[in-house]
Amino acid sequence: MSETLNHQEQPVLGRERSSLQHYLRRSRRFLLIGLPLAFLVIWTSVPILWAFMASLKEPLEIYESNTFFPRSPSLEAYQTVLAIDGFGKWIFNSVLVTVVATIVPLILSILAAYGFARYFFRFRHILLLLYLVPRIIPRVSLIVPLNDLMSNLGLINTYWVLYITYIASAVPLSTWILVGFFKSVPKEIEESATIDGANMWNRLRYVILPIAWPGVVTAAVLCIREGWNEFAFVLALVTETGMRTLPYALYTLRDSMGVQNFAVYNAFTILTVLPLLIVYLLLERRVVESIVTGAVK
């Protein structure tokens, strides 16, 4: 609130000064804010827009690359992608694994975060560290031993191997987010609920979760992101074509296509990115707010 008020004050201050000074101030402000802002927008959007434009162009038109916008936009490339043998299965795999790798870690981390946020118990700090340290382990470094373990267990090329590894890598992040949100719920509210006879489950369900709901949404979106975009594990632990998720399928697309058909290639890319971007845009406000307020680190 206070920021928006302050921003409204600035032009008022400017108006009080002479018009030349005002003009200089505005043009300097334009240079200092406008240029980086334009750069930010271009830098962020060009790779996606360029891929999107190419997906609507004809293959020859892409090679010529004379125009930014397609001359005669067509959805032919998308039809080709949807007709690729196995594309439906890859989408199904991605959705299934992402759903499991969102719901299970959320349940596990809601419980754990409640434990960490509300109880004082022995080894609390050590257990919390065990939850947090894995966040700083590069996932790709784990693929060699995990491959060894999972092939010993005979889990290679099953959904289980993806569930297990995805859940394990999503739990630390969402626990970390939720501990912060749960801690910020005033204890007094819970105490009064206890006096009214609410047990732990009821307190968690009717007191903590509704108040900390933005945190749960943020954690869910980030779990979805992890699951949808995960690559190292699926690359290492899955070899069958039918078990691939979308990122892996996108990675192997270059080898499986004889001729580089950039339109199809880009249409595929856009289709793998789009579902997650829609989820993000729907819940954008909560996610951005959570990160800006420092709840996600």
């Binding site: 980086p36 927008v41 962020t44 996606i48 690359s65 382990i137 590069p138 693929i143 890598s169 993000y280």
Partner: protein, 313 residues
Amino acid sequence: MASSTEADDGRLTARDWFADRATHAVPYLLVIPGLIFVIGVLGYAVIGGFVLSVNETDMFLNKSFVGLRNYITVFNDPRFQASLIRTIVFVICSITLGIVMSMIFALTLYHVGFGRRFFRGISLVPYFVSGIATAVMFRFVFTTSGGFANFVLYKFGLPTPSWLGNPYLAFMVAVFANCWHMVPFSTLILLGGLQTVDRDIYDAATIDGASGTQTFFKITLPMIKPMLGVSLIWVSYISFSTFDIILAMTSGGPQRATEVVSMYMYQLAYLQLDFGQGAVLMVVLLSINTLLSLFYIYFFVLSDMRDAKEAKT
């Protein structure tokens, strides 16, 4: 708190004793299910990696203990040394470019007077694009014929190089792609830091006649130091473990110009099927990142805990 069920008169009946134990167990029961996954998978993988690194595996995955032989082979391998140096250069380039960009973007988003929600929303989009998609998009942007970079250069009548065919340019493109992917998150972290600074301090500085640059270096930077630390850790963590972006964009080429440690590890383990040496590289990656994480824990988590303890007593 946890022991509130103890009988008030100090006498513990058997039933109270059980109730007391049960209450004590509650936090552990809450915390342990998640921990089983974390320790079971990630913890196992770390220990398993160390075990693998001192063993030699044959084609049928039979292991035999060879001590430190894998380590000696790997550290004497010029290809590994080159990849390690390349990783360090890659990380330094990425961190420098990444933090500068994040800072500029954060300051811009902080000062922009209109459409704040829109610009913030846009700025985080790359965070949700997978590493593979980032790589594919960047490869396409820098394709020789059909890429955006050469499209623009051509329009201005400038030479159109083969970006991904030239070792130096390909390395640069890899740094760009990595930055594109990681900058949004650290931008918003820094923006959060900027927003916590009280505006009155800036007003006071302006009244005292401080210039914009002075204000930035003397007031803003010190005030957002914790957030700067968090972004630094994020950026260096991502850069050290970059794998999918490079694999899908250049596969380590051209002429191994972009072969970082994680790429070489994948090569060793999956293409040469030498799991022992692959595991050594994992240990190297892990140690570097653990050092970073210790740094992180020391400067942020532990100091937070100390503050919390002081607040309690």
